[in-house]
Amino acid sequence: MEVNPRQRAEQAEFRAFVDQEILPVADLFDREEKIPSSLMEKLAHKKYFGPVIPEKYGGSGMDFVTYGLLHEEIGRCCSSTRSLLTVHDIVAQAILRWGSRRQKEYWMPRLASGEVRAAFALTEPSVGSDAKSIEMTATDTGAAYILNGKKRWITGGQTADLFLVIARSQEGPAAFLVERPNPGMRIEAISGMLGVRASMLAELHLENCRVSKDAIVGRAGFGFSHVVATALDHGRYSVAWGCVGIAQACLQACLRYTSRRKQFGVYLKEHQLIQRMITDMTTNLKAARLLCLQAGYLKEAGDPGSIMETSIAKYAASTMAFKAASDAVQIHGANGCSSDYSVQRYLRDAKIMEIIEGSAQMQQLMIAQYSYQHYQY
């Protein structure tokens, strides 16, 4: 499985952009817990917001494999930047898949240009993996829906213009588009996180937050089975590629460090126990990248198997990235624990990847169930 020459050329363009615009300042973003608006504008100018949105809606119509390569390259430099694009694209995909014609015609061009930036609001203070137990309510008053409740750990929530909010209606779970500002929505920044520190997390307080009846994406009752499922599938795909990027960054950092630092009279790379870690990093990175590529090609083909393969890719890539980052810090020793080297950021960011878009444990449950269903025994 390979990428074609056009995809390879586009990846080179992505790499040149991120190496110039993001890599030199990613540690600063991490320390300041913020992505500057100037970078967001550059990303919008490059059409990196919602690139898979079809051209008829003003998007680039990028294929899923190329999209994966973009998120690998951004993830290699800065998981926070990649996360902001991920949640934006999650909302775009949900509207593209399940929105009404009017919603698509109104929101797609704005999301494709980056003029409107979106965030996905599912998680609540008391509800994480058990997402179906959300407590936020949506009451149908006849003329509108009134939303009440809290959403927490909302990536990009500090600056997003549009939220896809999941709430419980009388007809079952439903997804609502909530525009900012809304007098019924108060947004509180969250800081001091372990990793992905510049992803501008927020807590949303919705108190009698009124949205019009046509703010529903899909149908009430299908919020989880179809809208959230679409959103999280896309999120897992982006995160999986982002993890490949993290591990690639770890590998490059280790190759560089072990070629320059001497212990016991020889370069670190001459020590066999170091070589073993480099070998595992290289092998597991290549395996995860192939799983991502497979998921991407299946997505492009509209194959129903893509959903499970994406889950497998996300699980493999996130656990691989954490191990790679842990070994990268180990190889760098005390230097790796200091802010002088980025590997400590990679480790903190990689831990987050094992938690978001379905924790590693939730993926394990799904993958085991898949195996019992699909293999003879």
């Binding site: 399940w98 149908r219 009752g221 089975s225 509209g302 129903p304 959903i307 169930q369 019992y372 269903q373």
Partner: protein, 83 residues
């Protein structure tokens, strides 16, 4: 594609999920108990790819997906609208 072939194709899709269960055309697939959180979207992608239709927001109705017969009916209606 004939009605029988459509239903047989749908049942083939379900066979890997409903391991060893003899799914009838009228069985309520949500009541059978094998449905997980991924199946709903896998089913949408399957009918779109296999039968060259597009499932849209207005098709989101449990009645359209609850059984092999219901799914075959949805496919027939969508295909007729396209034709």
């Amino acid at each position: 594609m004939s009605d029988r072939t459509t239903k047989a194709t749908i049942k083939d899709f379900f066979s890997s999920y409903f391991h060893g269960y003899d799914l009838k055309d009228d069985d309520d697939i949500f009541a059978v108990g094998f449905v997980n959180s991924l199946l709903a979207m896998q089913l949408v992608m399957f009918v779109e790819k296999e039968f060259d239709i597009t499932v849209e927001d207005e098709d989101l109705n449990l009645e359209n997906f609850k059984s092999v017969n219901a799914i075959a009916g949805l496919i027939e209606t969508k295909a007729a609208n396209v034709g």
